[in-house]
Point group: C2
Chain length 244, copies 2
DNA sequence: CTCAGTTTTTGAATTTAATTCATAATTCAC
DNA sequence: GTGAATTATGAATTAAATTCAAAAACTGAG
């Protein structure tokens, strides 16, 4: 069935084109002014064609977010394979997440948006499932790091399984991103934008988990060096995205 | 100006009516199907009247979320005044937050929604500012607890100010809520719905902050008792909401 | 109490933008 | 090459937020 295959390939290609253009438009003007008809036009297709790929605007947004998170899987797997301690890996995941946020602010906003009841429920069930399926390998990478740490006696199991434990740093990252993204909320208080704060908090959590080696959290210089080092280490993973 | 006063009072009353009805409709059917015209009709007013109070649908949603968070201030202040240790207070804040989530699931979804770029930017600047202003006393209560803990030598300052430190548990709560609310995400993995997990994670964080007295985190029975006790203690604060 | 002026309310008309679908174009199998 | 099947098109439809001209209610002076 070479014919069917070719058609399918072209179909996929067109879908990527739609998503590319949508990402571009969102990066340029935000999610708010994205419209279906102009998007189709910008890709030289009719509105109806767009709807052959996405059951609704929300469906398209989920698809876009899902594609973004595919990059994350590779990134995370790459980190898991680095020759650093398990605790450093966990830290590196957060650094990578943060670098992602900064490199693609609109991705972060999109992610927040799609998990909203209003958007989530307006997408097709298949698309929702795709996102959930994609989170699975992501969660597995993180759980794997936790599991390895437990096996290596760097982390006590605390009477929990690896996945449960991995949720703690995950939640902290998600929450930090949410708070930081909420324009003007943190900055409205004394809360300046100390970019290391999130990592200090993470180290507190990891210390509390008894994840060895424990780390001092009042030494800004050391923390700063550590993060800078990890950022350098992760830099290669972010190179390829320029092409995408 | 008694006349002006009376008019203003009635205006406020009508605004509350709109918000009450909107909350009711949202609780009943979700945010998605809320429509302006039916809402106005349900309150026996014309559509245009609704727009005399709220510049847009999003503006109304912010107003609603803001009113909800006013309750939180009282709740939080009540907790700060309880005769328990500073660490228990911090824990109690999270318990209260979680109780809120469960008592009013739609509030939680609304809160997530309004901080979304799309919604936030569609509301009036005044309304946004109101939300930020309302968060201030909230943040102050939490910072106050942290500050007191530092003064009482129950918590090392770690070279940070109280607000910065208070962001850590806050972010953890926010992130946990987000993950938990995302229907099917956590449950798609092994992640069952252990309701104590969030508190275990919080204790890990507090331990990592060296917040005294440190607590064992592998003892499920003790944790369970502790939370149940706090829930009982907080019960009174949730009584009055039935009238509202 | 009455009336001109002012403010407020009304809800039908307008607008915006997503979604659909009858028609046209293309592809495919024979 | 031809008719059936599939796919693309974009104008028409629909849904719902928002506006605004007209009507109603209110105001305070005479």
């Amino acid at each position: 069935m070479t014919v069917t295959e070719r058609k399918e390939r072209q179909r996929l290609l067109r879908e990527q084109l739609f998503l590319d253009k949508a990402a571009e438009l969102i990066a340029q003007h935000g999610i708010l002014p994205l419209q279906m008809a102009p998007l189709a036009k910008a890709c030289d297709y009719a509105t109806g064609t767009l709807y052959q790929h996405f059951s609704s605007k929300e469906d398209l947004l989920l698809a876009l977010a899902n594609r973004n998170s595919c990059h994350q899987i590779q990134l995370f797997q790459g980190i898991a394979a680095l020759p650093i301690s398990s605790r450093e890996k966990m830290l590196a995941l957060c650094v990578a997440d943060h670098m992602n946020q900064q490199a693609h602010p609109s991705h972060a906003g999109l992610e927040q948006y799609i998990f909203t009841e209003v958007v989530w429920k307006n997408a097709s069930a298949a698309r929702r499932q795709a996102i959930i399926d994609n989170s699975k390998p992501l969660a597995e990478v993180v759980s794997g790091i936790v599991q390895q740490a437990i096996i290596d006696n760097e982390l006590p199991a605390h009477n929990c399984d690896a996945f449960n434990l991995s949720v703690a740093p995950w939640a902290l990252c998600v929450g930090t991103n949410t708070l930081e993204r909420t324009e003007g909320l943190l900055s409205a208080f004394g809360g300046n934008a100390d970019p290391l704060q999130r990592y200090r908090h993470l180290h507190m959590l990891l210390n509390g988990m008894q994840w060895q080696p424990l780390q001092r959290i009042d030494d800004r210089v050391e923390l700063s060096k550590q993060i800078a080092l990890l950022q350098t280490l992760l830099e290669p993973f972010f190179q390829c995205e320029n092409t995408a």
